[in-house]
Amino acid sequence: MANKVNDALTDLVRGKITRRSFVQRLTALGLAMPAIDSLLRAGAAVAAESPYSVTGDMKEGSGGNLVVGQESNWDVLDPALGTGAVTWRTCLYQIYESLVSRDLDNPQGIGNQVVPRITKSIDQSSDGKTYTFHLQPGVTFTDGTPFDADAVMWNIERQWDQSKTGKQNAPQFNKTAAAVRSWFWEPAQMLEMTAPDKNTVVFHLAKPFSQFVSGMPEAGLGTMGISSPEVWKKGGDAAIAATPVGTGPFLFESQVPGDTLIIAKNPKYWNSSQAAKADRITFKALPDAATRVAALRAGDVHIVFAPPTQELASLRQAGFIVTARPNPHLWYLQLNANEPYWKDARVRQAFFMSINRAGMASQLLKDTVLPAVSANGRTCPSWTDKAGYADYNPEAAKKLLAEAGFEKGFDTIFQIPTGGSGEIDPVAMAEWIAGDAAKVGIRIKLQTMEWISYLHAWASGMGAGIGMNQQSWGMTSMYWPNLPLRTSSGLNVGHQPDKQFDMLLDEANSALDQDTAIAKYRAVDMLNAKEMWLVPVVNDLAPVVISPKVKGFVHTSDWWWDLKKVWVEA
């Protein structure tokens, strides 16, 4: 039992499991709560000594101009259209608010629970087909216009394609917004929205959708940030991009596209207890990693995202704080089901078992990632390290290959981008995988491409001759496996043919309570652990480097960065 307790404690310290899972595992081992509590404290103490902390200095205070060095420029500052990661992840989140959010500024545990933001409460009908959102009264957009049920419905009509229910789309309907958000509105199968009063919106769905609420704060494929309809009425989509207006703790001040974006504290923020601490935030696009680090060292910026891994140790020595934390990220491969060698599940398993993911995490990526043990991101409620994914075992992999008739191995091609959003260090990681696979006889030839060219090839689905490709993504919402694993999904780029996934996903999507949904989505993960169409590799901890002048910084446990409690000491 001592070994099992040790394992659980190690997993907790490394961020592999939540405090809740830790308690569950130890309770199952028969430990009493006081003993578990003391172990939790011990875990917290060890975690405090780990190279990467979750927070910076949490000193109370306010003020300052926080300067953030971003790894690329933001694109359009429209919550329905901005698809670039830095656009929605950092910039838009401070300006716009969604109906619901997640607990991002809590340094404890994993903030995967949905929390109301501009919604006061949500009622779900017993049949799971009606959701009633009670909005916060008295909220206004930063242009002074009221935030109410009409504004919510106006924003949703901009991205919800009503023509699929036989109705006419609203004038503000935008095809691009609808396309990027279709992953949410198509399974939601919404029939209509109604507003019984100015602070209530009722969503009527054709059938239950267990991820209706948890899917709302998801980004990556559009967001549900609410913008002022008045801006659009004055100047259309271009006006939203030029003068973004939301209800958030910061308001747009100015931008030089591709260079600098300045937002200022919203002095009339509706929730005074959650008002912004910094006077101003300046986002600076610094695409060159060396330049970002130089700017940080010279004191020109206070925070840099995506720092070069090899610089982290020296930055810490120079007094900067490196933070890192599990988030929904998953770096994964998809195997092409049309290639004959992958037809046998033993071959797919053998390939997975040949990859030394822990070695990649510690040696190649210096502990800035964790080895993946699930097809879900680590913040997803259905994430578990008990889904049944095999350990690294090249000897067993060789045996499996021999049993499947591939004693001499086989040749395959791996398509990979040279860089891109959330890709970490894709070519080096692909070379690591190819090196490991070669040891069991799988000879991989890399085919590298620039990001947009790659995205084009990836989105078209793998063609003949391509054995596998790669993507980085994940969601805190449990809906995520529907995207790469449902047979009819456009993101099933490997053409996995197993309808068992569809059946389990349908059950999970239509579950009426979250516990049932968790169990069902875990069953999907377990099926993948057996069938191995999606090969999970690592989860990024997304290190960030901050200046000691930055106070109140909490490393997010989601994609979004909440900067309202951050301030800068003079």
Partner: protein, 317 residues
């Protein structure tokens, strides 16, 4: 002179047309387009890709797309950026001015320091200074601009803290002309090094040639000082070569500025082109390349005119 000018301007028209055709064609050859960049991972939805491609007019034959673009461009409408959703000219205009400022700063360094080094090396032919200068210029001409930029940034911004590491203005201190000048020092110097080395070597060799000409001997015979022999008599005859190479270097400095901008986060047209390629923002890229090409044509024309104005032999020809 006017006839020459008219001929050069007339020759610029087909050049610009060719640039626009080649840029347009190259953009469409590269896999992935603005729709994929706009949709990101949602590009896996073929119906959405088709609908937006149609809306943007990208389903039309490439020649038809080009003619539509040309017609609008000739009336001054370069369209809206598909990445930022703002008019392209409002993006390119200010950034072009920033790049020209960086180019001008680099040119000042290259011409002033390059000329001084070249003259001193020639006057002190085969001295320690001459050998050292030629070695340093050889290394300077061979070193990548981005590497020099990072070294300068590390030394003067991080180690010594004398100069800012990036940007054109201070985010906290504002944007007075003095602050812009302070930010210009490092990127302009980094960008100038290769051109400085080239100018120094050309000036040195021209000066060596000039110093043995009979008119310099005559000047010496008349008892003129060494400085006067060099700067008044020999240097005037070095000038045409120096201007010629400087004219060529302006284009090179402009091109180099595009790289230096990324290293020093200088908000110029170089980074705009870089990000437009990444985002497949055809509209911005097309306008940027065309405007940058126009600048190249104009700069080369001005350099030629300056050379003619300063060299009586050219005027006679």
């Amino acid at each position: 002179m006017l006839t020459y000018l008219a001929q050069r301007v007339a020759a610029a028209v087909p050049t610009m047309f060719g640039v626009s055709v080649v840029t347009f064609a190259l953009l469409h050859i590269v896999p992935g387009g603005p729709v994929v960049a706009m949709l990101g991972l949602a590009a896996s939805n073929p119906a959405a890709v088709a609908a937006i491609t149609r809306d943007l007019g990208l389903d039309k034959p490439i020649w038809e797309q080009y003619l539509i673009w040309l017609k609008r461009a000739l009336s001054g409408d370069f369209g809206m950026s598909t990445e930022f959703h703002v008019p392209v000219l409002s993006l390119v205009g200010p950034k072009l001015a920033h790049t020209l400022l960086l180019t001008a700063g680099s040119l000042v360094y290259a011409v002033v320091l390059g000329t001084i080094i070249g003259i001193v090396a020639a006057v002190h032919y085969r001295s320690v200074f001459d050998r050292a200068a030629m070695f340093v210029t050889l290394v300077g001409a061979s070193a990548p601009v981005f590497w020099i930029g990072l070294l300068l940034s590390y030394l003067f911004a991080i180690r010594l803290g004398w100069l800012p590491a990036m940007g054109m203005t201070s985010i906290i201190g504002g944007s007075s002309p003095l602050i812009v000048l302070e930010h210009l020092i490092l990127p302009a110097f980094a960008n100038s090094i290769i051109s400085m080395a080239v100018i120094a070597r050309i000036v040195r060799s021209s000066m060596l040639e000039a110093l043995v000409q009979p008119y310099v001997l005559a000047a010496r015979a008349r008892g003129l000082s060494r400085t006067r022999q060099v700067l008044v008599h020999a240097f005037r005859n070095v000038l045409p070569d120096a201007i010629n190479i400087t004219g060529l270097q302006v284009g090179f400095l402009f091109g180099g500025a595009l790289i230096v901008e990324v290293v020093f986060a200088w908000p110029g047209v170089g980074y705009l082109i870089y990000s437009s390629i990444q985002a497949r923002d055809y509209v911005t890229l097309q306008a940027s390349v065309l405007i940058v090409s126009a600048v190249f044509v104009i700069v080369n024309l001005l350099a030629d005119m300056a050379r003619i104005a300063l060299d009586p032999r050219e005027q006679a020809a």
